[in-house]
């Protein structure tokens, strides 16, 4: 599988992750699909996305909001694209929309078939087993505006992902506690950092942290 986990931040901070993404694509003139977490003003996000990735000589993009109905013709093109980007936003709303649109299994197949799947913040959390991280910690969480209780997501990797991490005692306490009672390792990445998965290989870009068994580890 080819996955890129973006935490967030400005374009400049993500240069290394972007380079890794382009390497993973390994193709001239690829088609990249942008899936916003919500259709609301997503045209603006799409425009920014296109502007950013045009710098890498990508010129074929699809804008694919999933919280409004879509036809199967466009969906076919999406699933045929070389990469799909899951954007940031409210993780609960995003998951609810993906589930309602019955897209979770299709995205999973896409990734397993070798398509590059990238996610930013909420989109990155979506690639893990569940979106519990979006509700953590209490002082920095997404609102569950859609009141969903089934938080299971794409489950493409064996770890959890926490974006926008701030290296502070407050966060450490919460995640150490969480990792004591949960088996999966949490990779917490500040803005500009992230993870690249290429098959069995896991590559950390920028300063990242891992929480496991009640302990914190620095990576890079």
């Amino acid at each position: 599988m080819k996955l890129v986990f973006y935490s967030g931040g400005m374009a400049k901070e993500n240069q290394n992750l972007d380079r890794a993404f382009i390497e993973l694509l390994g193709k001239k003139n690829p088609v990249v699909t942008f899936i916003p977490s919500s259709s609301y003003l997503s045209e603006e996000e799409f425009r920014a996305f296109v502007k950013h990735y045009s710098k890498f000589k990508i010129s074929r993009f699809i804008h694919f909001p999933v919280d409004i109905p879509f036809d199967k013709i466009l969906l076919q093109e999406v699933m045929r694209s070389d990469a799909i980007h899951l954007a940031g936003g409210n993780t609960f709303y995003f998951l609810n929309s993906l589930r309602k649109a019955k897209l979770l299994p299709q995205l999973k197949t896409f990734a397993k078939r070798g398509g590059v799947l990238t996610g930013l913040s909420a989109g990155a959390i979506m690639m893990t087993e569940n979106i519990e991280m979006a509700g953590y910690p209490e002082f920095d969480r997404d609102e569950n505006t859609v009141n969903i209780s089934n938080l299971s997501a794409l489950n493409l990797v064996d770890h959890l992902f926490f974006p926008h991490f701030k290296n502070s005692k407050r966060y450490d306490t919460v995640f150490k506690k969480y990792s004591k009672i949960h088996q999966k390792v949490i990779y917490a990445c500040p803005d500009g950092a992230g993870i690249v998965v290429n098959g069995e290989e896991l590559r950390f870009i920028g300063k990242c942290y891992a929480f496991s068994g009640g302990h914190k580890f620095s990576i890079n």
Binding site: E43, F46, V50, S59, R60, F61, H63, I68, E77, T145
Partner: protein, 611 residues
């Protein structure tokens, strides 16, 4: 409350919101067109509460400072109520000697203007006009003079009820509805939400300045526009052959257009040149607006009386205004005694309005009123026809998503390609259901079956990714609306040809732009993809959605402050702003607010193909 402004000079400089004192009933139309209005004394109406105030519009009009917070304070609320919470002392009050405390009456009179209305038996405009509205006055700020009028300020003798039943009505008389002189909060909200959305999307329109709420859902709805004159303000006097008043109305209107810098030509050799310039301006405005109405699926009941529209093509009286989700070309509004025009008949009505202004120009120049039929081959009408088609072409390339520079390029150098594309575009746009005409809630309709916005939005991105044409089946799958039944979607030989023509004509335009610019096909398609996703957004507001939204907002109203309602209307109109050149920045809003907005979005989505 209960204090009524005594005079303008008393107050300027003493109050924080001194500009409000300038809106006191005085208006230049009163003196310049004495035969075009009635005057009413008015008294303060107690028990009002400001349900809505348009802070942005008030800033544009200079009523509050540019830096004023979007918050009502006691001083501002008092000013709004003292300025606008009024009811006229009408003929019924005078005949019945209704006692009104002197301190409650306003020092100046307020006018109700006379205009032609087809509902009146007279059909000449002698008895018709503002039936439940008065003009509060005008205010000049930043080089623009604004007219302000209020609806729900009492029954005038110009209402249809008064003339049909030959009696004067007491304001609020429960035995009649429209003629009772009152209006409702719902009407104000409908106008507010609709006008703010259409205004953001380049339509000229009346705008709601304030809604003052009273018991039982009643309200005074205050509206503003740089010129609230309608064609019907002219037509009444034309019908009556009242040369003097007709000339006064024209001169008054021309003066305002020049004052507001709406006209490029401001001096004229003689009256003939001046009045024919007016006729040409009307032809331009109404050719453009009727083309835009047709292309944006706006149903505005244009008729021979020129009542439901402003002279600048602005929308007024949202009661029967609709925006369809699809091109429902046979919808007719049922107005009890008659059916309205259809969306396609609007062009002829608009043309007739222009023809009336040619008649007016000739009448004012020669002093002789000739039959309107004598002007049916006039050069200005030929100009109207050309202009209408030009507007249609321009609207279409804009809708496809071409940026201004490319629109001009296509229009100036490759007009035939636009015409070619328009023909096939219209074939799909005007395709109707085999179900035929049937009754809908407020009229009759025959369903359109294709959603042009969907194909305009999706075609460029699909072509960009696969670089080949859609098959007839795929094309149909994308373009079909929820109204289309199996029989409507049959892929006949003709339809196959049209599907092919549509895509080829589209590509020809893109290739023409490629040839004349330094952009590649991919770059043009990418730009079209991005722009079209905004212009042809999946969830665009319709008349039905506005009705449901207003119902929803009314349910929430007891808990919504005037400020919250303002913020909600602003947020909603910004979300419905389909101008791709307008950069929108998502704002952080409270979860409660977010929930309300989500509700409104889902209403828009559900009603997106309706009436």
């Amino acid at each position: 409350m209960g204090q009524v402004k005594k005079s303008q000079t008393d107050e300027i400089g003493k109050r924080i919101y001194s500009s409000f004192a300038r809106i006191n009933g005085e208006h230049s139309f009163k003196t310049q067109v004495p035969g075009g209005r009635l005057e009413y004394q008015a008294r303060h109406k107690k028990g009002g509460k400001v349900a809505f105030f348009n802070f942005d519009l008030a800033k544009e009009m200079g009523l509050i400072s540019k830096t004023h917070a979007s918050e009502l304070n006691p001083d501002l609320e008092r000013e709004i109520l003292e300025t606008f919470s009024l009811v006229i002392i009408n003929e019924y009050d005078l005949m019945n000697q209704v006692k009104i405390p002197k301190e409650d009456t306003y020092p100046h009179t307020f006018m109700a203007t006379r205009y032609l209305q087809l509902q009146h038996p007279d059909k000449c405009g002698r008895t018709s006009g503002d039936g439940r509205s008065i003009w509060n006055g005008s205010i000049r700020h930043a080089g623009v003079t604004w007219d302000v009028s209020s609806c729900g300020t009492g029954a005038t003798k110009l209402s249809p009820a008064c003339n049909i039943n030959k009696k004067f009505y007491q304001t609020g008389d429960p035995s009649i509805s429209y003629g009772c002189g009152l209006s409702e909060v719902g009407e104000g909200l409908e106008t507010l939400f609709f006008s703010e959305v259409l205004g953001k999307n380049g339509f000229k329109t009346e705008r709601v300045l304030a809604i003052i709420e009273f018991e039982k859902g009643l309200s005074i709805n205050v509206r503003a526009n740089p010129n609230l004159m309608r064609p019907s303000h002219f037509f009444g006097h034309l019908k009556q052959g009242n040369l003097l008043t007709l000339k006064q109305v024209c001169d008054y209107f021309i003066q305002r257009q020049i004052e507001n810098k709406k006209w490029t030509q401001t001096s004229f050799k003689n009256d003939k040149e001046k009045y024919f310039y007016l006729a040409r301006q009307v032809a331009t405005t109404f050719a453009d607006v009727s083309a835009k109405f047709e292309d944006e699926y706006i149903f505005c009941w244009l008729d021979w009386d020129g009542d439901n529209i402003l002279m600048d093509g602005g929308i007024i009286d949202y009661g029967s205004i609709r925006q369809f989700g699809l091109f429902h070309a046979e919808y007719r509004y049922d107005d009890v005694q008659r059916y309205s025009t259809t969306i396609l008949e609007q062009r002829q009505k608009a043309r007739y309005i222009a023809q009336c202004f040619i008649q007016i120009a000739d009448y004012l120049t020669t002093g002789k009123k000739k039959s309107i039929s004598q002007f049916r081959k006039h050069e200005i009408l030929k100009y109207f026809d050309r202009r209408f088609i030009e507007s249609k072409d321009r609207n279409l390339v804009q809708k496809i998503g071409f940026k201004k520079q490319h629109q001009d390029l296509l229009f100036n150098n490759h007009r035939h390609l636009i015409t070619k594309f328009r023909k096939t575009f219209s074939y799909f746009e005007r395709a109707q259901s085999k179900r035929g005409i049937y009754k809908v809630a407020d009229g009759i309709n025959r369903d359109a079956i294709f959603c042009m916005r969907d194909i305009l939005r999706e075609f460029p991105q699909i072509y960009l990714t696969r670089q080949s044409l859609l098959t007839p089946h795929e094309f149909t799958e994308i373009i079909k609306s929820s109204y289309a039944k199996k029989a409507d979607l049959k892929i006949t030989e003709l339809r196959k040809k049209q599907i092919n023509r549509y895509q080829k004509a589209y590509l020809e335009m893109v290739k023409a732009v490629e040839k004349d610019t330094h952009m590649s096909m991919s770059q043009i398609f990418l730009e079209l993809t991005m722009r079209s996703s905004v212009i042809n957004k999946y969830d665009r507001v319709t008349g039905d959605s506005i009705t449901y939204i207003v119902q929803k907002v009314q349910k929430l109203r007891p808990k919504l402050s005037a400020e919250e309602l303002f913020a909600l209307a602003k947020e909603f109109s910004s979300y419905q702003n389909l101008n791709p050149d307008n950069k929108k920045v998502p704002r952080e809003i409270s979860p409660r607010y977010k929930n309300i907005m989500q509700n409104l979005y889902s209403i828009v989505r559900e009603c997106r193909e309706g009436l």
